[in-house]
Amino acid sequence: MRLADQGSFGPTEALVASIKAQGPTAWVTAQMALKTSSYTSGQGGAVHQYTGSGEFCADKGANCWRDWSSTQPLVWDFYRNAVTQPDQLRQRVAFALQQIVVVNNLEVDGTYGFRNYYNNLLDNAFGNYRQVLKKVALSPVMGDFLNNANNDKAAPNENFARELLQLFSLGTCELNADGTLKGGACSATYSNDVVRSYAYALTGWTYPAGGATPYGCWPAGMNCRYYGGDMIPVASFHDTAARTLLAGVTVAAGTTAPAALEKVLDSLMAHPNIAPFVSKQLIQHLVGSNPTPAYVARVASAFTTGKYGSFGSNQKGDLAATVAAVLLDAEARGDSVTRSAGKLREPAQTFAGVLRALNGKTDGDALAWWWGESLRQHVFRPPSVFNYYPPDYPVPGTALVGPTFGIHSANAALERLNYLTYLLDWGGSTPDANVPNALGTSVDLSAFLSDAADATKLVDRLSLLALGQALPSGPRTEVINAVSWWTSARDSANWQVNRVKTAAYLVFASPNYQVLR
C-alpha cells in the first residue's frame, strides 16, 4: 500500500493486489523494465524555423501558441500517462528529476524542445545521474533557460554554472555522507570564483543547426535558436585558459568545450556532496520529507557504489540502484511509522491519485491552468529554476521540513477540498473539442455502487483503497453518519451514488490521505 503511493501516482485496487502478489523487490524490478510512457503530443520545430513575413501563428488558428510553443500538450501526456500507463515508477522518478533539473515554460517557448527534454528524463530515470547532467548541460532548452547557449568567454554569463552547482548536483553547503551538514553549520561548498571558473569552462556552446528567423541570428558565428538535438561546440566562444574546478579536478589550458564539459562532470561526480544531495531529494520526492540520516546514508551508498542488491551496474550515479535503495529500505517499507515520517502529497499526486483510485480518466487539460494554478503545481511551469518549493521549507510549529508545505496555505487547504467537489459533485470536466483525443476529466464510481447499501462497508472499502486501513474510529463514525443520510426514501434515484460521492469526498479529504505516511 505504501509502496503504491511511493512508486506510482497512487493505489488502485488492482495495483495493490499486484504488489501484494509479487512482493516489493519483484514489483520494483518489473517496473524498471517497463517503458510505455513518452511525450508525443504537440507540434514540431517549425516555430523556430519560420522565415516568412508576419507572425508564425498568423494562419495557424487559435491554438497555435498552445500547440507549438507551450507545454500544455505535454500536460495532456503527463496526466494520461500518470493515470493509465503501467510504467508508474519510471514516471514518478522522471517527475522527481524534472523537479531537480528544472526548466520551465515561463521563460522558454517551444513545445518540441520540452518534449525532448522530458523524454530524456523518462529515458534516463533508471540510467546514470552523470548522463542526466550531461544531457541537461547539452540541452538547448536548458541552454536558453539559463543562458548557457551562446555563452561567450569574453564575459561569461554565470547563470547555468551557478545553478548546476547549487541545484542540480552539490548544493551550497558541504554535506556528510548522510546528508547532514558538515560541522553542523553551513560550510560553503564553493566560493564565487569557483562559480566563475565553471562558467568559463562551460562557455562555447550554441544551438544545434536547423533554426532560422526572417531577420537572421545573433551573435555572429552562432546558430539560431533551435531545440532539435543537443547543443554543439563553437571553439571561438570557448574559454581555453586553465581552470581549477572542485574535487581536485582541473581543466588544462587549451581544452575543447566537449572535453571541458567532461571535466566539469568528473568534478561533480567526484564531489562528496553529490551522493547525499541527490539521494535525499529522491527520498523526499518518493517517500518522505524528513528521512533519517542513516536512511540517506544507505541510499547515498547505493548511489556511490552503483549497486543495491540485484539492482545497478556498479557505476557511480546509477539511478536503478539508487531508486531501489530509496523504495526497498526498511524506513520506506516498515509498517510502523515514526512521528517524523510522511510527506504532504504533492498536488499532481493528488490530481492523478484520486482519478486512479476512482477508476477515472483524464486528458489532463483541466489540471494545468485551472487546478495546477490553484494549487501552485502547474506541471512544466514551476515559477523558476528553484522549482515549486524548496527541499528545506520549514513547517512552523515543528522542527521538520516539508517541501510541499512551501505551496500549502489556507487557500490551498480549501482548494484541495474543492478539487474533490469538482470531481465528485460537479462531475469533473466534459471533453473539450479543442483538445486532441479529448477525454475530459472524470471519475467512474460504478465499481463502488455494489457496497453503497452498507455505509460502513463502503467507507471501509474506500479507506482501505486510499489509506490502506480504516479511518480512526471517531471520524469514521462521523463519515458513516454523513454517508448514511442518503437513503432511498430521500432520493430514490441517486441515493447510492450520493453515498459513494460523500464517502469518497471525506476519505480523500482526510488528513490520512492528504499526508502520506
Binding site: N159, Y393, L400, N411, L414, D425, A482, P511
Partner: protein, 482 residues
C-alpha cells in the same frame, strides 16, 4: 488566473443548474452582495500596516535609480555601456542627484508629495564589513553572510533578516509574534519565508474575485443537512490527532483555513466595479484596470491589500503585515533590447512595479489611510555593475530599494550610494577576471527592517528580539526615512 476563475464560475454554475434550486439556495449565493466596505471610522486610531513587495530574481537597482551628476553618470554609462539608461530619459527627482528609470514614471507624483525614499546599497550583513575585512575573512567566517550571490539563500537572508541561510523564520513572522498581532503576516503572494514564525505560516489569500472557501461547506451552505453532515465529518477528521507530526501540521492548517475563510471570504471576492467595491480604490487602480480586471499580477495583489487595509476592522487587529511579490527580475539576458535601452525585460518589469505601487499609494492616500501604511521593496540581491555577453547582468549583493507611504520622510536618499568603480572600495572583486561590481552593502537588512518596524511600533527590546544581529551595528540601529 482569469481562465481559472472563469472555469470555476462556469463549472459551479453548471453544477448548480444540474443540482436544482434547493441546493443553490442552500449554498447561499449572493453573500458578496451583502458586503459593504466598513466606514473609515471603524479602524483603530493607531492602525498601521507594513507592506513588503519582494522583487524575486534580484532587481537591477543600478538601473532602477541612477545618479545624474556628471561625474557619476559618466562612471555609470562607461561601465554599463549599452545597458545604461540615457540621462535625458530618467524621471528627474527634484532635490537630489538621481533619476528613476522611465518605467517608474508613476512614482513621480509620490516623489512630488515627498513620500518616496530610495535607500542605497542595502543588503544582508552580519556586522559592518569593509572590503579589507571581507577579503581577509576566513572561509565560512561568521562575519560574512552565508552563500552570497545565490538566489535562494539571499532571498532567505532578506526575508529572515539574518546572515544565516538556515534560519527558519522570517522577520515579518517574528515581528508579528513579538508584537502579538491578531493575524500572522497576510500574504497575497504565497508562503514566503518572510511571514513564517515559529508557530505560524503566513495567511495566504487568493486574488480578487477568487473563492476563498470550500464549496458546499461555507456557513450559508450548512442549512442543508447533507452539507452540515459533511462539515461535521470534516471537522472530526481535522480534529483527530495524527500519528505523524506533518499530519498534525496539516490538520491545523485546515482548521485555520475554515476560520479565516469565514471571516475574509466575501472581502477577498470583491473585484473592481463589483459588489462591495470601493470607488476610491477602483479609481486609483483605473490606470491598470481593463473591463473590471486588473491587468498585472502585482496590481492584483496590491488591489487585494488595499481592500484589506480599507476593511482593516474586518481583517482584525491594529497592526497588520502584508506580503506581495513580483517575479522575473533575474535579468541575466535581454535585460534591454540591444540598441534600445528603454525597451526589454527590465523596463517591462519596472513598469509593472511602478504602476502598481503608484495606484496603491494613491488609493490609500485618497482613503485617508496614507499615513498608516508604509510600503517597501526587498529583493534577492543587486546585480553586477559590469554586464555580461547576453545584454544582461549577473548576481551581486548590495542594492537600491524604495520605501513609500504617507509617513515616509521622502524627497531624500538614505544610506550611501556605492562607489561606481570596478574593483573599488565597495566591489568584492580584486583580481582582474572577477571585477564585476558586486557591492558590499553599507546598510544592513537589519537596519532597514529596524527602521520599518520601529515606525510600526516595535520597542527597542522587541527589535533586538526580532533582529538578532542588530546589536552588531551599535548605535546605528535605524535610518531616518521614517
Amino acid at each position: 488566473m482569469n481562465t481559472t476563475n472563469n472555469f470555476l464560475v462556469s463549472n459551479r454554475r453548471r453544477w448548480l443548474q444540474r443540482s436544482g434550486s434547493t441546493l443553490a439556495a442552500a449554498l447561499g449565493l449572493g453573500s458578496v452582495g451583502n458586503l459593504m466596505l466598513m466606514p473609515r471610522s471603524a479602524r483603530a486610531a493607531d492602525y498601521k500596516a507594513l507592506v513588503c513587495v519582494f522583487l524575486y530574481g534580484g532587481n537591477d537597482g543600478l538601473n532602477t535609480i541612477v545618479p545624474t551628476d556628471t561625474a557619476r553618470y559618466n562612471q555609470y554609462a562607461g561601465v554599463r555601456g549599452g545597458l545604461a539608461i540615457p540621462k535625458a530619459s530618467l524621471v528627474p527627482l527634484a532635490g537630489v542627484n538621481y533619476g528613476l528609470h522611465p518605467s517608474l514614471a508613476a512614482l513621480a507624483p509620490v516623489w512630488a508629495d515627498g513620500k518616496l525614499a530610495p535607500v542605497f546599497n542595502v543588503g544582508p550583513l552580519h556586522q559592518p564589513l569593509t572590503k579589507a575585512q571581507y577579503r581577509a575573512a576566513a572561509a565560512n567566517s561568521a562575519s560574512v553572510p552565508d552563500s552570497l550571490f545565490s538566489h535562494s539563500d539571499q532571498q532567505i537572508l532578506w526575508e529572515t533578516g539574518t546572515a544565516d541561510s538556515l534560519t527558519r523564520t522570517g522577520w515579518g513572522g517574528r515581528a508579528a509574534e513579538a508584537l502579538a498581532t491578531v493575524n500572522p503576516v497576510i500574504s497575497v503572494a504565497g508562503t514566503a519565508r518572510f511571514g513564517l514564525s515559529s508557530l505560524q505560516t503566513p495567511l495566504v489569500l487568493p486574488g480578487p474575485g477568487a473563492t476563498f472557501g470550500a464549496h458546499g461547506l461555507q456557513p450559508a451552505d450548512l442549512t442543508w443537512a447533507p452539507n452540515a453532515l459533511r462539515k461535521a465529518a470534516i471537522d472530526a477528521l481535522y480534529a483527530q490527532a495524527q500519528d505523524v507530526t506533518l499530519g498534525d501540521a496539516y490538520t491545523q492548517a485546515q482548521r485555520n483555513a475554515f476560520t479565516m475563510s469565514e471571516r475574509l471570504g466575501a472581502l477577498v471576492k470583491v473585484t473592481p466595479g463589483g459588489a462591495g467595491a470601493s470607488a476610491v480604490i477602483d479609481a486609483a487602480f483605473a490606470p491598470i484596470t481593463v473591463a473590471g480586471k486588473i491587468t498585472t499580477p502585482l496590481g492584483n495583489q496590491l488591489y487585494q491589500i488595499a481592500k484589506l487595509v480599507a476593511n482593516n476592522a474586518t481583517v482584525q487587529g491594529n497592526k497588520q503585515l502584508f506580503f506581495a511579490s513580483m517575479g522575473g527580475f533575474d535579468t541575466h539576458a535581454n535585460q534591454i533590447v540591444t540598441g534600445s535601452p528603454l525597451e526589454g525585460e527590465h523596463a517591462r518589469l519596472l513598469k509593472g512595479l511602478g504602476d502598481a505601487l503608484g495606484a496603491f499609494y494613491t488609493a490609500l492616500k485618497n482613503l485617508g489611510l496614507g499615513d498608516a501604511v508604509t510600503t517597501f521593496t526587498q529583493s534577492d540581491f543587486g546585480r553586477t555593475f559590469a554586464t555580461n555577453n547576453s545584454t544582461g547582468t549577473d548576481h551581486a549583493w548590495g542594492n537600491q530599494h524604495l520605501v513609500l507611504g504617507g509617513a515616509v520622510k521622502g524627497g531624500l536618499g538614505y544610506g550611501s550610494y556605492p562607489e561606481l568603480a570596478l574593483g573599488g572600495v565597495d566591489d568584492v572583486g580584486q583580481d582582474s577576471w572577477e571585477l564585476q561590481g558586486r557591492w558590499i552593502p553599507t546598510t544592513a537588512v537589519d537596519q532597514y527592517a529596524a527602521t520599518l518596524l520601529g515606525w510600526f511600533g516595535a520597542s527597542e527590546p522587541q527589535l533586538d528580539a526580532v533582529l538578532p544581529n542588530l546589536v552588531n551595528f551599535g548605535t546605528a540601529r535605524k535610518l531616518a526615512f521614517l
